[in-house]
């Protein structure tokens, strides 16, 4: 009896769920992805609250103490100027996360639009758009970022823009390649021949199919953006002292890794965990958003 009653309820529920809800439900089942998501959320909350909860001031020095290993007073040790490393990492996460997310958002927006339009419209438009990408690709961006920071002085805004401007190109190419590949496949050709409107083809067929690679690439872009920032720190062009980013902490930690290993280990560890979390979350999203994958 009870089963008979349940069946209509279930089918109603299925109908009422949107695609997104569906995806979310699938995501929730993925334990690693959720773990990554919780970690990232916690990290963001801590980063936002840092000015109120940090144990020390990020620039407060204790010259007599110097570099000291982790202790009860300084859980993650202190750097060469005797500054508390936990505090420095907490403040650094504000910069690094901001650089990572904002620059990636910039890159994502430009890249996906550009690549999707080029790939879908095709023909002359595609050729022109991709030549522009080629031209920009041909610029050695490392040097350009160096020159930009030299000309305009290094500022956070410049970092966002410069890094975002570098990263969108690959995104555009990947999206275009994917769009081209999918366009050639039977189901899309069928849709075209059936006279479906371009908007409908894009929204119903292309976007869902392109989403997977884009998400995977985004999870790769955030780390590479964070790393690019650290490379600039390595060249001395990153964030200005006494502020710190994970990149600048790692860049100075690697120079002293044999003497004060904790100055490399902890910033490196937090960076790695963050990037792993982003990765698991990305994979989880990919599986959740790809309807075909979920049927397996």
């Amino acid at each position: 009896m009870s089963e008979v009653i349940k069946i209509p309820e279930l089918s109603q529920l299925e109908k009422g769920r949107s695609l997104t809800q569906d995806a979310l439900a699938r995501l929730r089942k993925n334990r690693m992805a959720m773990l990554g998501l919780y970690f990232l959320l916690a990290l963001i909350v801590i980063a936002l609250l840092t000015p109120w909860i940090a144990p020390y001031s990020y620039e407060e020095q204790n010259l007599e103490l110097g570099a000291s290993p982790p202790s009860a007073q300084h859980w993650l040790g202190t750097d060469i100027l005797g500054r508390d490393q936990l505090t420095r990492i907490m403040y650094g996460s504000r910069i690094s996360l901001a650089v990572g997310f904002i620059a990636t958002a910039v890159a994502l927006t430009i890249g996906v639009l550009w690549g999707a339009i080029a790939g879908f419209v095709g023909g002359r438009t595609d050729a022109v758009m991709m030549r522009i990408v080629d031209a920009l690709y041909a610029l050695p961006f490392t040097i350009f970022i160096i020159l930009l920071t030299v000309v305009f002085g290094s500022s956070l805004l410049l970092l966002f823009l410069a890094i975002g401007a570098v990263e969108w190109l690959t995104m555009a190419r990947i999206v275009r390649g994917q769009v081209l590949a999918i366009k050639r496949q039977e189901f899309v050709e069928a849709a075209i021949s059936m006279g479906l409107s371009p908007a409908r083809i894009v929204s119903r067929h292309l976007i869902p199919n392109v989403l997977g690679p884009v998400i995977v690439y985004t999870t790769l872009t955030i780390p590479s953006v964070i790393l690019l920032e650290s490379f600039l720190s390595f060249l001395g062009l990153g964030i200005q002292p006494p502020a710190s980013s994970w990149g600048s902490l790692i860049a100075s930690g690697v120079e002293v890794m044999e003497e004060y290993v904790w100055l490399l280990f902890f910033p490196g560890l937090i960076l790695t965990i963050t990037l792993f979390s982003l990765n698991f979350l990305g994979d989880g999203l990919r599986d959740a958003l790809d309807p075909r994958a979920s049927r397996d």
Binding site: E59, L81, E255
Partner: protein
């Protein structure tokens, strides 16, 4: 299954690698064949002694050329070079040099007095753009010729005969002989230079190893940019019988961590410097490879005295008196540096500045209040600019904290890329900036001349007629004691007027393999490669 196969491949690869055994040590091979492997800091830009200005170039040039005089690397005393002896007139303005009969160029040509005359003439030619041309202004009419006012026949350098050179100076310059050991006063083989371009043309191919002609104990044989420059023994060198090394390889290694690793792995005999954090390790190890010595060089901050509030002497004093130099060298730079309280780097054998900038935070606070900023209230946020470098950054951060703690003022820090830094400094577009000075020769003049009015290296807006006249008087004074008296007074003026904030005297640490013999450290970091040998 796959995992196991992978594991096997890894194990095999590791086995292969370890099968290669210990890697071959360049140092051991070098010891057998008398080949010295030495790190040389930045890439050398050229070998022309009248064009280059850097330390890395001057080290290579020390192997490829020999001046009229040389310096004893142990004591820095002037010793005969190409000239076996010289006479000085009583008033100290006329020099006669007797060039060795057997002195030759590396192509076998005889080295004559006229070679020096023609080389010095070249060094004054405007189109060459020799940055050390001014250092030979002490030669009579040198300046007038350089400025194109007179012909070269009136300049005070003449070949008396084939092997005798006469030089006339404008004043009894006591450091003149030291100047002659500097690369800008070396003799060049003019016919070779003219073969590859005009005599005053920069950057022709005459300095390439295949074309090069010099008169030093070594000649270049291979120059691969960013890899190394290799020099071999010069058979025509007059003292070739006493040169023991067969070859020297100078490696351009800008990163100190890289050269330290190379030294540990047996790929270098001598490093250029040492990463700061490695000092403790080598001190503790105490195996005789660490060389530690003071330099004739000062690290200081410039104040822009032309802008508010730094045009107020009380403000400058307040800033200067609240800096604890002892703490900086002890806990920040940690490399053996000595606090500096005056500009001129001390040389225990001749001159130690007596004037001392005090460390007195109470007085500093009082002065700042008098200047209108009690407890730092209302003090504008000044910026300390420094070129990109960890050490400069750490020092600046420490000073920032000291001023905050002692005076209650905030300063911001700005990390500036090197060329931008120089550009701003030249245009006086800075407030406080980081500076250093390395003495060209062992005399206080090389430091103090800098702050005369309008000197290109002054860059602080500081101008004092009393100071200028002291420096001028010291240049014309033959009596050593009287000169030192002038220098003491000049140093005192800088301490009182505070256009600069001296912080510390440089200290050098480097690693020298125990197989290197006859290698001496000195405050000028001057080398003579001819006596060095490997064991």
């Amino acid at each position: 299954m796959h995992a196991i196969r992978w594991l096997m491949i890894c194990v095999m690869a590791a086995g292969l690698l370890s099968g290669c055994g210990k890697s071959q040590k360049l140092v051991d091979i070098g010891n057998e064949q008398q080949i010295l492997h030495i790190a040389n800091g930045d890439e050398i830009s050229d070998l022309d002694p009248q064009v280059t200005t850097g330390m890395p170039e001057s080290r290579v040039q020390a192997a490829l050329f020999e001046g009229l005089v040389a310096r004893d690397p142990k004591t820095l005393k002037v010793v005969p070079g190409v000239a076996e002896r010289w006479d000085i007139s009583e008033d100290g303005t006329k020099y006669r040099f007797y060039i060795r009969e057997n002195a030759k160029w590396s192509n076998g040509d005889d080295l004559t007095a006229n070679d020096f005359v023609q080389s010095w003439r070249r060094s004054f030619l405007p189109a060459l753009g020799n940055q050390y041309a001014t250092s030979l202004y002490v030669v009579k009419n040198g300046q007038a010729f350089h400025e194109g006012k007179i012909g070269f026949e009136d300049v005070g350098v003449k070949a008396f005969d084939k092997k005798i050179l006469d030089v006339e100076l404008i004043a009894p310059t006591p450091y003149f002989l030291q100047l002659l050991a500097h690369h800008s006063a070396f003799a060049l083989h003019i016919p070779t230079i003219e073969k590859f371009g005009a005599i005053d043309e920069r950057g022709t191919k005459w300095t390439r190893p295949e074309n090069f002609v010099g008169n030093g104990p070594f000649i270049p044989v291979e120059w691969i940019p960013t890899k190394y420059i290799a020099v071999k023994r010069n058979p025509y060198y007059w003292d070739a019988a006493n040169v023991k090394l067969n070859e020297i390889r100078f490696y351009p290694i800008p990163k100190y961590t890289v050269e330290e690793r190379m030294f540990r792995a047996g790929q270098l005999h001598i490093t250029y410097y040492l990463p700061r954090d490695k000092l403790e390790y080598y001190k503790a190890k105490n195996d005789g490879v660490l060389r530690s010595f003071q330099n004739f060089a000062t690290y200081f901050y410039r104040f822009n005295t032309t802008i508010k509030p730094l045009n107020d002497l009380r403000v400058r004093k307040a800033l200067a008196y609240s800096v604890n130099r002892h703490q900086i060298v002890e806990y920040v730079t940690k490399f053996g540096q000595k606090p500096a309280y005056a500009l001129t780097a001390p040389d225990p054998n001749s001159y130690v500045p007596e004037a001392k900038m005090p460390y007195d935070p109470d007085l500093a606070r009082k002065l700042l209040a008098e200047a209108g900023f009690p407890e730092g209230k209302g003090f504008p946020t000044l910026t300390i600019a420094f070129n990109t470098n960890d050490e400069h950054r750490n020092v600046a951060m420490a000073i920032q904290q000291m001023w905050k703690k002692e005076l209650g003022i905030e300063v911001s820090l700005e990390n500036v890329e090197w060329k931008v830094f120089l550009d701003r400094e030249r245009q006086m577009d800075y407030e406080i900036d980081r500076a250093s000075w390395v003495g060209d020769y062992l005399d206080p003049f090389t430091f103090l001349e800098m702050f005369t009015t309008g000197n290109g290296n002054n860059k602080t807006g500081f101008a004092s007629t009393e100071y200028d006249s002291l420096i001028r008087a010291s240049a014309l004074e033959a009596d050593p004691e009287q000169r030192m008296f002038y220098f003491q007074k000049a140093d005192k003026i800088l301490v009182d007027e505070v256009p600069i904030l001296p912080l510390y005297t440089y200290h050098w640490n480097r690693l020298v393999s125990k197989s290197v013999k006859n290698w001496y450290d000195n405050p000028m970091d001057y080398y003579s490669f001819k006596q060095i040998y490997l064991e």
